[in-house]
């Protein structure tokens, strides 16, 4: 894996993370922030996989697996709350 490719990957992931982070901080409404949290979670899952690749150990993929399974639940709970449930 060449260094150029790695740098391009880091810049892409970091840029996407930063843009969705801006929406998370500056978002007008709570729904904007919830969608931004979902996007951030997806991009960060990609970053966790990249870290596992850099260290060359496949067992670190378990962390990304847990997050991709459970982050859906957190966003679902927030959506259910904004919808009027969970009260």
């Amino acid at each position: 894996m060449s260094n150029t490719f790695l740098i391009i990957l880091f810049v892409l992931i970091g840029g996407g993370l930063f843009l969705s982070f801006l929406r998370l901080i500056l978002g007008r409404k709570a729904t904007d922030r919830a969608v931004a949290l979902d996007t951030t979670t997806l991009i960060t899952t990609g970053f966790l996989v990249l870290v596992a690749f850099l260290q060359g150990r496949s067992m670190l993929l378990d962390v990304a697996l847990v997050y991709s399974v459970l982050s859906f639940l957190g966003v679902l709970a927030i959506a259910r709350y904004l919808d009027g449930g969970l009260r």
Binding site: I25, F47, L54, L60, V63, S71, L86
Partner: protein
């Protein structure tokens, strides 16, 4: 080379995490603060993985993703709309 990339990743994640932590305390609505604290927990999981602690990262991910969010959402629903 790898160390430079890791340093950049840890510094970027740390700065975003601190900004989000301040934002969670000064933002107006409580529901937004709960969502932003979810992001802080996610960043903490990334930092744990960068610190070679996959066990701690997996625990933080499984707790911070759903369970702690739901606990605070429940409290917000019980207390009501005032801030």
């Amino acid at each position: 080379m790898n160390m430079t990339l890791l340093a950049a990743a840890s510094m970027g994640t740390g700065i975003m995490m601190l900004v989000a932590a301040v934002a969670a305390l000064v933002v107006k609505k409580l529901i937004s603060a709960i969502i932003i604290v979810g992001f802080v927990s996610l960043s903490a999981s990334v930092l744990f993985l960068l610190m070679d602690a996959p066990d701690v990262a997996i625990t933080e991910a499984s707790i911070g993703a759903a369970i702690s969010t739901v606990i605070f959402l429940w409290g917000r629903g019980k207390i009501g709309g005032q801030e």
